[in-house]
C-alpha cells in the first residue's frame, strides 16, 4: 500500500502517520501469521476456500463453521476461517458530532478512521467510509484498492465535527444497512443518550470489527484547578464550575460507567470495544485493531 503526497490535511495526517498507514498491510499480515501458527498465509493460490486459521467463537457466528474437532480435543469453541472471509466489506463510520472535536478529539478520530480504512484495504476488501450526523448515516467515499486510500483520507479530512450525531436513530439504520459478515468500524465518543442496545441489533449477522471509543478512559480535564467556564461543544450551554481534583475523579468515574454498557453491547454484537485517548499514539490503536479485530 502506498500513500503518496502529504495528503489532504497535513495537520490531520502528518508524514509520520502516513508512513504508519503504509506499514499497515505488513503489520496485519505479521500479526495474523503469528496468531494462526501452522496455517498458510493468505496470499497464494488456493482460491477463496483456502483455510486460514481459527478464531474464538463469537455470538452470532454460523454454527456450521465451529470446528467440532477442536472442541472435542481441547474444549475450546473456535470457528474456522478461510481466505475468502477476509475479503469482506469494511464499513468505517465516523461520529461527526461536534463533541468529537475538542481537545484533539477530531485529529484522533480522523486518524482512527484512517487506520480502520487502511486495515480494511490491506486484505483486498472493499471499504466504505461514512459519517454519522444528525441521526443519519451518510456514505462519503468507497474504495477497494490500496490506491483509494488517499481519497478516503481526503473524505475523512473533509469532515469537520458539527451538530449532533443522533446515534439513537443513526445506529439502527447503520446496523440494518451493513451487509452480513461485514467488518464494521465505528469511531465515536459515545456521548449520547442513545440506548446501547441499539448495537445488539447487529448481533447474529456475522459482523466483525470494533467500536473505537474516543476519549475513554480519559475525560476532558481543565488545565488547572480553579474556575472554569465549560462550554458544551454540541449545545453551546455554558456552566461555570470550580474544578478540583476530587471533582475530576468523580467525572472520570461517571464517564467510565457511561461507557461500560456500550462495551457490553458492542461485544454482544460481535464487535471489539477499543477505547483510545486523543493523546495516545496511533501505533497503539493500530496494534490493538490488528490483534483484536479479525
Amino acid at each position: 500500500m502506498t500513500v503518496r503526497g502529504p495528503g489532504p490535511d497535513a495537520t490531520l495526517f502528518p508524514p509520520g502517520f502516513l508512513r504508519l498507514l503504509a506499514s499497515v498491510p505488513a503489520l496485519v499480515r505479521r500479526v495474523h501469521v503469528g496468531a494462526a501458527a501452522g496455517v498458510h498465509a493468505a496470499r497464494g493460490t488456493g482460491g477463496p476456500f483456502l483455510f486460514r486459521g481459527h478464531r474464538a467463537y463469537r455470538p452470532g457466528d454460523d454454527l456450521r463453521r465451529v470446528d467440532w474437532a477442536v472442541l472435542a480435543r481441547h474444549d475450546r469453541v473456535v470457528v474456522r476461517e478461510h481466505d475468502a472471509e477476509r475479503e469482506v466489506r469494511t464499513e468505517v463510520w465516523l461520529d461527526g458530532s461536534a463533541s468529537v472535536g475538542p481537545e484533539g478529539g477530531r485529529v484522533a478520530a480522523a486518524r482512527a478512521a484512517a487506520l480502520a480504512c487502511a486495515v480494511g484495504l490491506c486484505g483486498g476488501g472493499r471499504v466504505r467510509f461514512g459519517v454519522l450526523r444528525d441521526g443519519a448515516a451518510t456514505l462519503r467515499r468507497e474504495g477497494d484498492d490500496p490506491a483509494d486510500l488517499p481519497g478516503l483520507l481526503e473524505a475523512i479530512a473533509a469532515e469537520a465535527p458539527a451538530h449532533r450525531a443522533g446515534l439513537a436513530s443513526a445506529l439502527p439504520a447503520l446496523c440494518a444497512r451493513a451487509p452480513s459478515r461485514a467488518r464494521l468500524f465505528l469511531v465515536t465518543d459515545l456521548l449520547t443518550d442513545a440506548d446501547p442496545s441499539v448495537l445488539a441489533r447487529a448481533a447474529g449477522r456475522g459482523l466483525g470489527g470494533a467500536v473505537l471509543h474516543l476519549r475513554d478512559p480519559d475525560t476532558w480535564s481543565p488545565p488547572s484547578e480553579g474556575l472554569v467556564e465549560a462550554v458544551d461543544a454540541e449545545t453551546g450551554v455554558r456552566r461555570v464550575v470550580r474544578w478540583t481534583p476530587a471533582r475530576a475523579e468523580r467525572v472520570a468515574r461517571r464517564a467510565a460507567a457511561h461507557a461500560l454498557p456500550w462495551a457490553h453491547a458492542a461485544r454482544a454484537a460481535g464487535l471489539a470495544f477499543l477505547p483510545f485517548a486523543p493523546a495516545s499514539p496511533p501505533e497503539d490503536l493500530l496494534a490493538r485493531i490488528a490483534l483484536e479485530v479479525p
Binding site: 475538542p102 481543565p222 488545565p223 474556575l227 472554569v228 462550554v231 481534583p245 471533582r247 468523580r250
Partner: protein, 487 residues
C-alpha cells in the same frame, strides 16, 4: 508612626493592580468541552463557583506588596512621644511647717502648687519631685536633665535665677519667734542656761523664756531682732528644757530645746549578736571622731544601739544600727508599703531623722535593698534602722567622708548636736529656720507648655521586619504555585 520617605507609599497603588491581575488570572476560563453530561451530577458545582472563599494567593501577594511598599517608605514606630521633664524641688526645711494666718502650713501650700503644676502636664511629661532645703534648693533644681526647673519654697532666692522657675508660698502676715541658740554650762557649781530668742515679726515683742525647774525672763525683742538671757538651771545631770512662750507663733518647732549633759551612750553588740568585730571597731573609731566623749552603755540605757534590738525610750527616738549579717534577719518588713515615703538617694549630707529609706550610692536607686528604714517601735518609739556594712561599701565605704557624716547625722538625730558647755542640744533648729519666708509668687502654669521637650521620642524602625514579611509572603506564594495544578 512616621515615615522617612513617605513618597514610597505610592507603591501602595500597586495593590489594586495586583488585585485586578489576580481577578483576571483566576476568572473562569472558557473551555470547550465535549459534553457537560458528566457535570450534571455535580449539583454543588455552581454553588462552589459562586462561593466567596479566602484566596490565600491573593492575600499573600497583597501582603507582600504592601509590606514592600511600607518598607520602602522607611516606617518608624514611635513607642513614646517627646516629653518634658519638670523637675520640682520642694523646700522641706523646718520653716515650711510654719502655719499661716489662714491655718495652712507652707508645706501644704507647696503641695497644692505642685498639684496644680502636675495637672497642667501633658501625658508624656514627667514630674520629678525632689526635696531639698536651705541653700541647696537652686542647686538641686539644676541637677539632672529637665525641660523646666521649679523651686517651691516659702521664700524667693536671694538673687534672680533665670533658669529656674520660683514659686513662693510664704505668708506675708505670719509672725514667729523662736529659740535660735541655747547652751548650758556649770560655773562655780551652778548650772546656767544661755538662750537667744529671735523675733521674726514686724513689731517689737515682749517674749518670755523659762527653764523647767529653773529661772525665767521676759525679753523685749525688737522687730527682726534677737535678745538673749542667761537663766538659772536645775542642778544635777538631768536635761535642761528651755521653753519660749509664743502661743500664736507660726512655727511651734522652735519654741523648745532640750540640753542634755550626759554623754552619748552607745550599746555596741558583740560577735555573739551577729555584729562582726571589724564593724564594731569601725563604729567605735568613727564615734571617737563625730561624738567625742561617747560612752559605752547597756542596751537599755543606750541612746544609740549598734546591732542591738530596739527598746522603748521616753524620748520616742530609738536608733538601731544593724550590721548586714544580723540585720538581715531582724529587719521587720514594713507594715504597709504605702506608709513609706519614696526612697531618696544617699548623699553626703543625710538627715536620717527625716528620711524613711536611703539607698547606698553604689547600690543604685532601683535596688530594693534599703539601708535606712524608719518604723514605729515599742511604746511608739521612732525606730530608725540602718543596715550597714561600711567595709563592703554600704551605705558608703569606710574610707570616705560619707560614712562618718552619716554616722554623725545618726548621732545628732538620736542625741542632739554638741553645744558649748558640754551639753548636747536637741530641738534647736538651724539659725535661719525660725525666720519665716513671707514671699508669694504664683506658679507660671504655662512654663512647662512653653518649654521645649528634653526627652526625644523613642522610635523603632520597622523596615527590616516589613522586608522579612514581604519576602516570606512572596516565598510562600512561590511555593504554592507548584501545587496548584490538578494531578
Amino acid at each position: 508612626m512616621a515615615f522617612a520617605w513617605p513618597l514610597a507609599l505610592v507603591g501602595l497603588a500597586a495593590l489594586p493592580v495586583v488585585w485586578w491581575l489576580h481577578r483576571r488570572l483566576t476568572r473562569a476560563v472558557p473551555v470547550v468541552v465535549p459534553s457537560l453530561r458528566f457535570l450534571e451530577a455535580e449539583p454543588d458545582a455552581d454553588r462552589d463557583a459562586r462561593a466567596r472563599r479566602v484566596d490565600l494567593d491573593l492575600l499573600l501577594a497583597l501582603v507582600g506588596v504592601a509590606a514592600a511598599a511600607f518598607a520602602a517608605a522607611g516606617p518608624v514606630l514611635r513607642t513614646q512621644d517627646a516629653g518634658r521633664t519638670v523637675r520640682v524641688v520642694v523646700d522641706d526645711g523646718p520653716a515650711m511647717a510654719a502655719r499661716g494666718t489662714d491655718g495652712t502650713t507652707a508645706a501644704a501650700r507647696a503641695e497644692a502648687a505642685v498639684d496644680r503644676l502636675r495637672a497642667t502636664l501633658a501625658p508624656h511629661d514627667v514630674l520629678a519631685r525632689v526635696a531639698a532645703t536651705g541653700d541647696d534648693l537652686v542647686a538641686a533644681a539644676r541637677r539632672g536633665g529637665a525641660a523646666v526647673r521649679v523651686v517651691v519654697s516659702d521664700r524667693l532666692p536671694a538673687s534672680a535665677v533665670p533658669d529656674v522657675e520660683t514659686v513662693a508660698v510664704g505668708d506675708p502676715a505670719a509672725r514667729n519667734a523662736g529659740i535660735v541658740a541655747a547652751s548650758a554650762a556649770v560655773e562655780g557649781g551652778t548650772r546656767r542656761a544661755f538662750v537667744a530668742v529671735r523675733n521674726d515679726a514686724s513689731v517689737a515683742r515682749a517674749l518670755r523664756v523659762r527653764v523647767a525647774g529653773g529661772g525665767s525672763a521676759t525679753l523685749d525683742v525688737p522687730a527682726g531682732g534677737v535678745a538673749s538671757a542667761t537663766l538659772a538651771a536645775p542642778p544635777g545631770d538631768a536635761s535642761v528644757v528651755v521653753t519660749l512662750d509664743d502661743p500664736d507663733g507660726a512655727l511651734a518647732g522652735d519654741d523648745e530645746v532640750r540640753l542634755s549633759p550626759a554623754p552619748l551612750r552607745v550599746a555596741v553588740a558583740g560577735p555573739e549578736a551577729g555584729l562582726p568585730s571589724a564593724h564594731a571597731d569601725l563604729v567605735r573609731r568613727t564615734l571617737d571622731v563625730v561624738a567625742p566623749g561617747w560612752e559605752a552603755a547597756s542596751a537599755v540605757r543606750a541612746t544609740l544601739r549598734v546591732g542591738v534590738r530596739p527598746v522603748a525610750l521616753a524620748d520616742g527616738v530609738d536608733l538601731v544600727l544593724h550590721p548586714i549579717a544580723a540585720g538581715g534577719a531582724s529587719v521587720r518588713a514594713p507594715a504597709s508599703a504605702a506608709r513609706e515615703r519614696p526612697p531618696v538617694a544617699y548623699a553626703a549630707d543625710l538627715d536620717v531623722a527625716s528620711t524613711d529609706l536611703v539607698y547606698a550610692r553604689d547600690v543604685g536607686a532601683a535596688s530594693p535593698w534599703p539601708v535606712v528604714r524608719t518604723s514605729t517601735g515599742p511604746a511608739g518609739a521612732h525606730v530608725v534602722e540602718v543596715l550597714f556594712d561600711p567595709l563592703a561599701g554600704t551605705p558608703a565605704p569606710a574610707d570616705t567622708a560619707a560614712w562618718p557624716i552619716l554616722l554623725e547625722n545618726v548621732v545628732t538625730a538620736a542625741a542632739g548636736a554638741p553645744a558649748p558647755g558640754g551639753h548636747r542640744v536637741q530641738g534647736l533648729l538651724p539659725p535661719d529656720a525660725s525666720r519665716l519666708g513671707r514671699d508669694r509668687r504664683d506658679l507660671d502654669l504655662g512654663a512647662s507648655a512653653r518649654a521645649a521637650p528634653d526627652r526625644p521620642p523613642v522610635e523603632r524602625p520597622l523596615r527590616a521586619p516589613l522586608l522579612a514579611l514581604a519576602v516570606a509572603s512572596w516565598g510562600a506564594l512561590w511555593g504554592r504555585g507548584a501545587r496548584r495544578r490538578v494531578a
